[in-house]
């Protein structure tokens, strides 16, 4: 059986890649995908710990259930986010997020 640390290391790498993507990339779609990466890194961590503590936990599927919730919310978030991006593209002819700074103080 693959040790838990491997899963966690993979989740950490995925999260780091997602975070870097969000901070570095300017394309809104890529930023979105990076956010999805971070979410799934978190999901991976959930299921890892769920399996790890399954023996002494009252409810065996707590982590797994939480992952379903996250996936549902992420889907909803993607729906709204993509709608926003489409609308922004229509008005600005661009999805470069550095161009979208009219809310500055």
């Amino acid at each position: 059986m693959v040790p838990v640390n491997y899963y966690l290391a993979l989740a950490g790498i995925l999260f780091t890649m997602g975070a870097m993507g969000v901070l570095i990339r300017r394309n809104a779609l890529v930023v979105f995908m990076s956010i999805e990466l971070m979410l799934n890194a978190a999901n991976l961590t959930f299921v890892t710990f769920a399996r790890m503590y399954a023996a002494n936990s009252a409810s065996v599927f707590n982590g797994q259930i939480f992952v379903f919730f996250v996936m549902t919310v992420a889907a909803a978030e993607v729906a709204v986010g993509l709608a926003l991006i489409v609308t922004i593209f229509r008005s600005k002819q661009s999805i470069d997020i550095d161009q979208i700074n009219s809310l500055k103080g």
Partner: protein
């Protein structure tokens, strides 16, 4: 018999109610009644009061000797041990006063119907006719309270009430002087009377307070029962304070000065209030307080001396007066001096006897003088309208009361002349007229016990006969000294008829208390402890001789060579400065002005200007309080509010704004930088959690 007198005593409140009803009728519907109606209502009210008084006298005479009746009407003041009620007292003394007041009052009411009818027309204000009778009825009511009171406090209510009526009636023509010119003279005379009377009232009140303090009551019965055991100084102070009240009301030295000025009132007022009734209230008060005065010889001596000195002093002033009413006014003061001297000596019977006869003949004299004045007014009116071409005469001020304008009126006004003569012989003390008997009784009593008072009163009696002779010769004899006197007209019957009654009383009044019979003394003896006087032929002879001598002297001076128009008084040359003193009332008014009035005015001015205006208003209120308040608000507004509070809040606002300006730079609109900040924050928090 007892039941009937009980019933009659039940009527006693009506001596006050009747005049009050009369005045209420005149007050409410008098304007619809017309002059005759108003006069009839007032005179009827007064007349019915007299009837009630007569019934009281009858009821009293059926009681056993020395008894008197008391009629409680209603409770008034009950505080702790103090109990003062409205209680009428019917004894021989009060009933005698009731009879005099309502009897003479009724005659004067009738006279006033005729007198005021003309007076209001000469003075161009017909509307005041009704007001006059309202005041006159009010006076009767108040005087009745005064004489029928059963306690000093109730007496004081009447005492103040008659003072008020006196004030109202002296100032009846308040916007003019006695000659009808616009002036404050009459209202000033009224104020003077009121203020001088206040000084007397102060004495009365102090006496009443002392009675309450020492005896716990102001009821006559209880006070008289308690005085026997009181300390001498208490008696002396009470009697002296009462004497101050008497001096004010009965116009004795030093408070007599208001009475001559009171002649500013219409003549019926002078007769009723300032000769016959109100001014004798002081004499009544001393007689009523006889049990107190009898306890202190010092008090009696002082009262007797005050009366005697007043009698001489006022008589000497009367000699030098030219106004017909002023002579009578000073004569009244002088005769009041006789009465006060009499009651001061303990001769209460003689004092009350003189009070009654004086009420008759002085009312007669005043009313006849009013008739003379109106006769002159008519002559003046007649003259002014008879000679239209001398229209400027109308503007010329004519004094109808100045005896120097009169002369020879005997032929023009024969009825008035004979009435005046009756009053004169009664006042001068010619036997057998009323004044002789009463004055002689006083003189005989004085001769027995107070030689000094006797001599003073004898001099006063001589002067009395002299000034009355002077007046008669100047007014009625000789030749008219003014065109007006030639045209004077006799007064109508409504004025002369009551005078005839008074003249009869003046002639026959002596019968009340003839020596040997002493009806009045015995009657009053039931109430007051009186030693009956003895008739002294020597005294009577001397006073009669002096009176005749004085009249002869006045005849020699004023009629042997009748005064011509504009000729000065013959006494002026003979007596020089003495006559000037008499003419100017011995400068008492001027002295009072300098000694009392001016310093008082100065003090008032000082209090008003310096203390109230300058110190209190200008300095304390304006400078200290108002300016201090303004200064404080300015301090709070400028340095505190603008300087501190505003600065602090502005500082806060500036700080918020400055921080906002610097903080807004953080919100640069780049999503990635926000994300970086979030991540750094997460790193910091997690780092902290791990390293903690």
């Amino acid at each position: 018999m007892g039941n009937i007198s009980e019933l009659m005593f039940k009527l006693v409140p009506w001596i006050v109610f009747l005049p009050v009803i009369g005045l209420l009728i005149n007050l409410t519907i008098g304007s619809k009644l017309g002059e005759k109606g108003v006069g009839a209502v007032a005179a009827t009210a007064s007349g019915l009061t007299f009837v009630v008084a007569l019934l009281q006298a009858y009821a009293l005479s059926t009681l056993p000797e020395g008894k008197f009746a008391i009629a409680p009407i209603v409770q008034w003041i009950h505080i702790g041990s103090l109990a003062i009620d409205w209680t009428f007292r019917m004894d021989t003394l009060s009933v005698t006063m009731m009879l005099v007041v309502s009897g003479v009052g009724t005659l004067i009411h009738i006279y006033a119907i005729g007198y005021m009818h003309e007076d209001v027309r000469f003075k161009n204000d017909v509307g005041r006719y009704r007001r006059f009778f309202v005041f006159l009825n009010l006076f009767i009511a108040m005087m009745m309270i005064l004489v029928s009171a059963n306690s000093y406090m109730m007496l004081f209510v009447g005492w103040e009430g008659v003072g008020l009526c006196s004030f109202l009636l002296i100032g009846f023509w308040y916007e003019m002087d006695t000659l009808g010119r616009p002036s404050f003279a009459n209202s000033n005379a009224a104020k003077k009377a009121f203020i001088v009377n206040r000084i007397g009232d102060f004495g009365f009140l102090m006496a009443a307070f002392m009675m309450f303090w020492k005896f716990g009551s102001t009821d006559f019965k209880e006070v008289f029962a308690a005085v026997g055991t009181a300390e001498p100084w208490v008696i002396l102070w009470i009697t002296m304070f009462l004497l101050v009240g008497v001096a004010g009301k009965s116009a004795q030295i030093p408070l007599y000065v208001w009475l001559p000025d009171a002649m500013a009132g219409p003549t019926p007022v002078s007769a009723l209030i300032h000769a016959a009734t109100m001014v004798t209230a002081g004499v009544y008060l001393i007689t009523r307080s006889a049990p107190i005065y009898m306890l202190s010889h010092d008090a009696q001596n002082i009262v007797a001396m005050v009366g005697a000195v007043t009698a001489v002093f006022a008589a000497s002033i009367a000699v030098g007066q030219y106004d017909i009413k002023k002579v009578l006014a000073y004569s009244t003061i002088s005769q009041l001096g006789f009465m006060v001297a009499a009651v001061g000596m303990g001769a209460f019977g003689a004092g009350m006897f003189h009070l009654i006869t004086h009420a008759f003949f002085k009312a007669l004299l005043f009313l006849s003088a009013g008739s003379v004045i109106l006769g002159m007014e008519r002559g003046h009116h007649h003259l002014a309208h008879g000679h239209q071409e001398h229209a400027e005469h109308e503007a010329e001020v004519f004094d109808p009361g100045d005896m120097r304008n009169m002369g020879g009126l005997r032929k023009r006004m024969p009825v008035t002349f004979w009435l005046y003569m009756a009053g004169t012989v009664a006042l001068a003390g010619i036997p057998p007229f009323a004044g002789f008997w009463s004055k002689d009784e006083i003189l005989a009593d004085a001769f027995r016990e107070f030689p000094l008072v006797y001599w003073l009163l004898t001099i006063a009696a001589f002067l009395t006969a002299f000034y009355m002779g002077r007046q008669i010769w100047m007014v009625f004899f000789g030749e008219p000294r003014h065109a007006v006197a030639e045209h004077a007209e006799e007064s109508p019957l409504i004025m002369t008829a009551p005078l005839m009654v008074l003249a009869a009383l003046s002639v026959l009044g002596g019968l009340l208390n003839l020596p040997g019979v002493e009806t009045l003394t015995h009657w009053l003896q039931q109430t007051v402890d009186i030693v009956p006087g003895e008739f002294n032929p020597g005294v009577a002879l001397i006073s009669t001789g002096l009176a005749l001598l004085a009249i002869l002297l006045s005849w020699w001076l004023y009629l042997r060579k009748p005064l011509a128009t504009g000729q000065p008084d013959p006494l002026k040359g003979m007596l020089g400065p003495v006559f000037a003193g008499m003419e100017h009332k011995w400068f008492v008014d001027e002295a009072y002005q300098v000694v009392f009035v001016n310093p008082y005015n100065g003090l008032s001015n000082f209090l008003a200007q310096t203390i109230d205006m300058d110190f209190w208003h200008d300095w304390l209120h304006n400078s200290v309080i108002a300016k201090g308040f303004v200064g404080l608000t300015r301090f709070l507004a400028d340095p505190v509010d603008l300087g501190l509070v505003d600065k602090v809040s502005k500082l806060l606002a500036d700080a918020v704004q400055a921080s906002a300006i610097s903080l807004r730079k953080l919100q640069n609109g780049f999503v990635r930088s926000y994300a970086l900040a979030v991540m750094l924050g997460v790193v910091v928090i997690i780092g902290y959690l791990i390293l903690k």
